[in-house]
């Protein structure tokens, strides 16, 4: 989809050789803190910005030259939704849908109901969350090949976040020709919804793969109570932060070395065991730990 993309504003390099590939039919998470370049990438993909260098292709076309033609096949939800003050939400949904080439009436009504959105209110009277819902309904009710969602749940309450997740799950369950690019800084959302994830940092994609691929690169944390004091754990490769207190053991284990460590532990007799799988959060922290400004959105 994108390779070696560069984009700079004056002296700031917003994108610094970004590569991103999204396969047809998958839900792809695009993960990174504020200011990492997610929105810039998306806006290049939409032909709103022109990259300084690199190749970009979208649905088999050039997003800059074939913008309007390609846009009929996709729907976009911006991170910051502003509506026209004197148009109602319903009017905006219909307008955007028609400009895209039509929307599914049944789905429109269903989504309005599920998102609990009043379509008769004027744009200026909606709260941020409700403006976001208007854009979501307009996009999700369109029958398009590609959904580009830029932090789509910002401003939604937890109940509505759940509705959003369900809707995306349903999309994923459908016969797999609908592709979703979901940018987010909310890890649990990406973890719950995405088939593959790309992590962006300072205008570069630093990690990309399926969640299980990525998990492989992380550590599982283990708390165990043994019948005897453990031997030889410290000598095993892939064991970190080992903390032994009598018969209790805490450690972090490289997921690839899990098998060897478990054998060693069970040799000492396991009374109780808690193993925590790696979360995306840890993965994320590994890439951002300590080298970013404090506003990096790590929750």
């Amino acid at each position: 989809m994108v390779s070696g993309l560069h984009k700079s504003y004056g002296s700031t390099h917003a994108l610094d050789g970004l590569d991103l590939e999204v396969a047809t039919g998958e839900v792809h998470g695009f993960l990174g803190p504020n200011g990492a370049g997610k929105s810039t990438t998306i806006r290049v993909l939409l032909g709103l910005l022109r990259g300084d260098a690199g190749d970009v292709s979208l649905l088999g076309g050039d997003p800059w030259h074939d913008a309007a033609k390609l846009h009929r096949r996709l729907a976009y939800v911006p991170g910051d939704v502003n509506l026209w003050p004197n148009l109602t939400g319903g009017e905006v949904i219909d307008l955007l849908g028609r400009l895209r080439g039509g929307l599914d009436e049944k789905k429109r009504d269903d989504l309005l109901r599920r998102f609990d959105l009043d379509p008769t209110k004027k744009g200026r009277t909606y709260s941020k969350g409700n403006r976001q819902k208007v854009a979501l309904v307009a996009a999700l009710a369109s029958d398009v090949e590609l959904l580009i969602l830029d932090e789509p749940t910002s401003g939604l309450d937890p109940l509505m976040e759940e509705v959003f997740r369900q809707v995306i799950e349903e999309e994923r369950a459908r016969d797999g020709d609908r592709t979703v690019l979901l940018s987010s800084h909310i890890l649990s959302e990406v973890e719950a919804l995405c088939d593959r994830v790309s992590i962006i940092r300072r205008g570069k994609v630093v990690e990309t793969g399926t969640l299980s691929d990525l998990r492989h690169l992380t550590r599982t944390s283990i708390h165990a109570e043994l019948t005897a004091s453990p031997n030889g754990l410290a000598q095993l490769p892939g064991v970190h932060d080992l903390d032994v207190e009598g018969n209790r053991v805490r450690c972090e284990v490289d997921t690839a070395q899990l098998d060897a460590v478990m054998r060693q532990l069970s040799a000492s007799g396991i009374k109780s065991l808690v193993a925590q799988p790696p979360t995306l959060e840890e993965l994320f922290l590994r890439h951002y730990d300590g080298d970013l400004e404090p506003e990096a959105a790590v929750r």
Binding site: L49, I93, R98
Partner: protein, 532 residues
């Protein structure tokens, strides 16, 4: 006093935000007053020439309805500044009203005020701060103007009367802004309401001034701008009249406070009603959306233009009432008799309406930029809409809207002047033609905005600056003895003066060609640039 807690902080914040804007406005006003005085003093070294100029002006219905009467034809100060009395008061009033809206309603609409209200902030603090900033600006502007006029060599008393008269106009319309800011939820609508009040005030005083037999002179007293004229700076200096705008301000502030007590933060007095849950079947193109966005303001402007046209046409039938003195009669003969002078009056008024219609065009074209920066262009451009279609939708509204406005004004003035002169069949087409020839210059100015939008979007509000420059060149170019090439820069100077004048196609075609070139370049450059 709890209701006013935090006013000081807000005043400092407002002054910090406007630390460039306010001084620039003040300098522009002070310089135009001083420059106008200086140029006139040089021009009228001879007392007879002064009186002659004053008489000519008072005998011209176009000038009287536009600027007002000269009360003392032998007063150097008044003759120098009469063009800036009512007109200047209008602009100072605009500044005063907009500053109040900017620091009260705009802040509330954007939600910034809510952020501050969560801290310690009294209920009236925002309005009080806005009024203090606006009032102080008006007073400083007035005093500096007075000093600069004295510096140009005019007498002290008159100079202070003039400066304070301007300040008082600023105060009066600050009061209007305080009320409109409570009535509507959007700053745009509040500014629109203020502008309507300003327009009505200006028209009321024009009616009063144009009264040939004095029977409708009292109408001027209904208008805050009429009060500014009645201060009669350099022609008697009636200080008492200055109390009128001050009392008016107090009443307006009392009304605004009463309104604040009845509403919630963020709400206006006019509550928005729910609208249709579905988009009308016609709402399916960028042009349909642009029509929705512009139609409200186009209807309001169109109504104003129709009234203005009817009024102007009506005044035209009284033209011979102005011609009373012998010297004026002689002059009228030179200018081609009563019909000649009526036509000249109507042509001037159509020119003014062309200037006003351009303001609509600029504002409509600037909508492009505000849609872009408010991130409302992005979702549209992410659909099947091409950039040219989106840009075109607003450009069409600007071009079409200005055409509607000027033609409505032409029609109105044609009908009313035709009815009173008894030759409707001739007058209507003449006035429509006179209105239509204004369009190329109007479209050229709109084209400049489109070009800036494509080429240098951050500078797009420079469109107003260019417009202001053209206005100044037109109003004062000859007075300031500017070189001809500079005077020629203003597109309005090339518009044929119809009815009555000679029509020549060359300048009209040139203006149209330049307007088209500017607009097209705007399209091409917009297609190549980044959005946002």
């Amino acid at each position: 006093m709890n209701d006013f807690v935090g006013t000081g902080t807000l005043v400092r914040l407002a002054l910090r935000r406007d630390r460039i804007l306010i001084p620039i406005w003040i300098v522009v006003f002070v310089m135009s007053a001083a420059g106008s005085a200086k140029a006139s003093i040089d021009l009228y070294s001879d007392q007879n020439a002064l009186v002659e100029a004053a008489r000519t002006s008072n005998a011209s219905p176009a000038l009287v309805s536009l600027y007002g009467r000269i009360f003392d034809e032998s007063s150097l100060g008044e003759v120098s500044l009469f063009k800036l009395t009512a007109f200047g008061a209008l602009l100072v009033g605009l500044l005063g009203g907009m500053l109040v809206v900017r620091h009260s309603r705009s802040e509330e609409e954007s939600g910034r005020l809510e952020l501050l209200s969560a801290g310690v902030l009294g209920r009236y603090a925002a309005l009080a701060a806005a009024l203090i900033v606006s009032g102080a600006t008006a007073i400083v502007l007035g005093l500096l103007t007075a000093l600069s006029l004295m510096g140009s060599g005019l007498d002290t008393k008159g100079s202070f009367a003039f400066g304070l008269m301007w300040a008082a106009a600023g105060l009066a319309f600050a009061g209007v802004g305080a009320v409109t800011a409570q009535v509507t939820e959007s700053a745009r609508a509040a500014n629109g309401l203020t502008a309507i009040v300003l327009g009505v005030s200006y028209v009321l005083r024009a009616i009063g001034d144009s009264s040939a037999d004095g029977s409708t002179q009292w109408v001027s007293w209904l208008s805050p701008i009429g009060w500014s004229q009645q201060v009669r700076a350099y022609a008697g200096d009636r200080w008492v009249v200055l109390l009128l705008p001050v009392v008016f301000l107090a009443l307006m502030v009392a009304a605004a406070i009463a309104l604040i007590q009845r509403r919630d933060v963020g709400a206006g007095l006019v509550r928005p009603r729910p609208g249709p849950p579905r988009g009308a079947a016609s709402l399916r193109s960028p042009l349909a959306l642009a029509w929705r966005l512009h139609r409200g303001s186009l209807f309001a402007w169109g109504f104003g233009f129709l009234l203005l046209g009817l009024l102007v046409g009506n005044i035209a039938s009284n033209v011979d009432g102005f011609v009373t003195s012998d010297s004026a009669k002689e002059m009228v003969q030179k200018l081609g008799g009563v019909e000649g002078i009526t036509d000249a009056f109507l042509a001037t008024e159509l020119g003014i309406m062309g200037l006003l219609a351009s303001a609509f065009g600029i504002q409509a074209a600037l909508r492009l930029r505000s849609e872009e920066t408010a991130l409302r262009a992005e979702p549209l451009l992410a659909t099947g809409v091409t950039r040219a279609q989106w840009l075109g939708s607003h450009v069409v509204m600007a071009l079409f809207g200005t055409a509607v406005l000027i033609l409505v004004a032409g029609l109105g003035s044609g009908v009313s002047s035709g009815a009173s002169l008894g030759n409707m069949g001739r007058q209507v087409p003449r006035m429509l033609a006179g209105a239509a020839v204004q369009l190329p210059a109007i479209w050229l100015v709109t084209g400049l905005v489109v070009l800036l939008f494509g080429l240098a979007p951050k500078l797009v509000t420079g469109g107003w600056a260019l417009y202001g420059l053209f206005l100044l060149i037109g109003q004062f170019g000859e007075l300031f003895n500017l070189p001809q090439w500079m005077i020629d820069l203003s597109p309005y100077g090339h518009t044929p003066r119809l009815p009555g004048g000679e029509f020549s196609a060359t300048p009209v075609l040139w203006l149209t060609a330049i307007a088209a070139a500017l607009t097209l370049t705007g399209f091409v450059t917009f297609r190549r640039r980044d959005i946002g």
